[in-house]
Symmetry: C2
Subunit: 356 residues, 2 copies
């Protein structure tokens, strides 16, 4: 039901970014790049978690040398993260970076950017052009009002895009980042209106998992729901697999990625409720963790919303005082005593999934 914004297609190794292709989840390695084995291990875990692309920092020459080995062993295309050094960009492209992430504002000489573009062309690699609020301040606009920051970021992006287009290079992905949710939304809305290149979306340094979840889901979710965003990355201080999982949850909630494994719908309960719905649901969830089929189970606590929701679920239970009514695809199939509810439900779920 989401109408994706129409964009050009950009090749990132085997991945395609843009409106004709699925939104790609990205993350970043967090072990030292020079520790090749640890880095490859983390990339493989991220690929298993569903990451289509992984970014790797290459701040030193030793890092690009390690990066060469990592590229060979990676199951997914890699993005080299470049800051300040044009030389690192060239090295990373030469050893197989499918994309580099560049904040052109950090590279002083336009001649260097042109060299990087030529190198990317030769190697069929893409370039992500990054602009972020912090760099805007580096450009000495220290005292800009909050509402001016968005337009400054957009105009900086325009300058860069023009530069890349003049150099005859269109394999670019745009990203404009801020640590502020609403500014992230606003700047990306503006960039989406100004260009037809794919956009990479993320909130910078959002925080520890418990602090990062809500603003990340709001910022990335809002933009995706408005059709904006072709690759996404959730930033969490901690294991990057958490980033990949939350990225997928956001996509799945909007129907932009298939729901993985079983789904459990639970009514929030209210003053009508005479059974421990949350307690029953926790037990059902534990059972569902052992399955990886996409079965939809509903645990409902009353007769008001229960039967309606049951119609949408593969297996549903509407719990009442002392008993529960079991539904299979909307059809009531049994009344079960409360004590036997979990067991009967388990049997029904397992039967249903082996059938499917």
């Amino acid at each position: 039901m989401i109408e994706r914004r129409q964009t050009k297609t950009v090749r990132i190794g085997t991945v395609r970014a843009g409106s004709g292709h699925p939104v790609a989840v990205q993350s970043m390695t967090k072990v030292l790049t020079t520790d090749v084995a640890a880095c490859v291990r983390q990339i493989k875990r991220l690929a298993t978690a569903g990451c289509a692309l992984v970014r790797v920092a290459v701040p030193t020459r030793a890092d690009t040398q390690a990066f060469a080995k990592i590229v060979e062993k990676s199951p997914v295309p890699l993005v080299a993260d470049i800051h300040f050094s044009p030389q690192r960009a060239i090295e990373a492209l030469e050893v197989g970076a499918a994309k580099i992430r560049l904040n052109p504002g950090n590279i002083k000489d336009p001649h260097d950017i042109r060299r990087i573009i030529d190198c990317a062309k030769r190697h069929g690699a893409a370039i992500r052009i990054g602009v972020n609020e912090a760099s805007i301040r580096d450009l000495k606009h220290t005292d800009v009002r909050q509402d001016q920051r968005v337009s400054l970021m957009v105009s900086e992006m325009k300058t860069y895009v023009r530069f890349f287009e003049k150099a005859g290079f269109d394999q670019i992905v745009l990203s404009a980042k801020s640590a502020d949710t609403m500014r992230t939304i606003d700047v990306n809305r503006a960039i989406a209106q100004s260009f037809d290149y794919p956009i990479h979306i993320g909130l910078t340094h959002a925080g520890l998992a418990e602090d990062a979840r809500t603003p990340s889901a709001v910022a990335i979710g809002t933009l995706l729901a408005e059709g904006i965003g072709d690759t996404i990355r959730v930033s969490i201080a901690g294991d990057p697999v958490q980033e990949a999982r939350l990225g997928f949850e956001i996509l799945a909630s909007l129907g932009l990625a298939p729901k993985r494994g079983p789904e459990l719908v639970v009514c929030p309960t209210c003053g009508r409720c005479e059974v421990d719905v949350a307690g029953l649901a926790r037990k059902v969830r534990k059972l569902l963790r052992t399955l990886d089929t996409p079965v939809r189970v509903a645990v409902m606590g009353c007769i008001v919303n229960g039967p309606g929701e049951a119609a949408d679920a593969d297996v549903a239970v509407c719990a009442a005082k002392g008993k529960g009514f079991l539904y299979r695809r909307g059809k009531r199939i049994a009344a079960v005593a409360e004590a036997d509810l979990l067991e009967t439900l388990s049997r029904e779920i397992t039967a249903g999934t082996s059938e499917a």
Copy 2:
């Protein structure tokens, strides 16, 4: 930076809902309504957590009798949740419900709805008109395609609104709910375009906390970011205080509610990072939990984004190998050995907050 959609103002006891007023967080009691003491206790905890409105289910006559006592002791206006029974609606209004939530589709006789409206008028109460996907199916549209459900919900809402307007009653709040994130977004976008009454937003029976967080943040966050939504409720199977907290987090992330207490920004770290940023951040977060001043602290792991982010924080640390640089409102004030970092940072945070 959010332009709220312009709406009429609706009075809900001491609360005002609509574009001229803050978005109100709502939740619902989950203990039996007849247990007056437990119900009042839960309402007080919800009020402390920031709920402006609390909904209470009143399925039986005994419940409306209990509701009368609860109203007297509640620190916030209460909403009575009505299903099927016009009599319960009348009783709840007569004992002081500031608003009732009605799904007109559940009440068969239009004459009964008119009686309820007259009663609400006499008592200066508001009515939330609810339409949800499950009721649409109750209306025998069992086989409607997914994309038709939204327009069916909107046309049902139109019928009800016209009925209320004909009865000369404009103290209405509209809500259209689904368990699906994108349908919730779409139906509310459509309703926002069709009417200028305040809208209540929520996702129905979203699930246990770990499953409900992301879809709720995406659905409610997207609509709020588009200016839609005047009261919100997050549905979680479990303690309703969790609902209130997540509701606030969503509002705060969009600048629609003040951030409560300290804020911790942490870079996600990457292959450039030579210190345990997440570990340091966890310790700082523990320290911040003891404060309730709105100080903004940044813990950054490198020199690329660190200094930029430091400018936005009251106190920031950019950790490097073996040492850290301390910033106060963007100014570097000290270089500290890694071993002393937490202590110096703590002192700086405490000094800053007692100053403010």
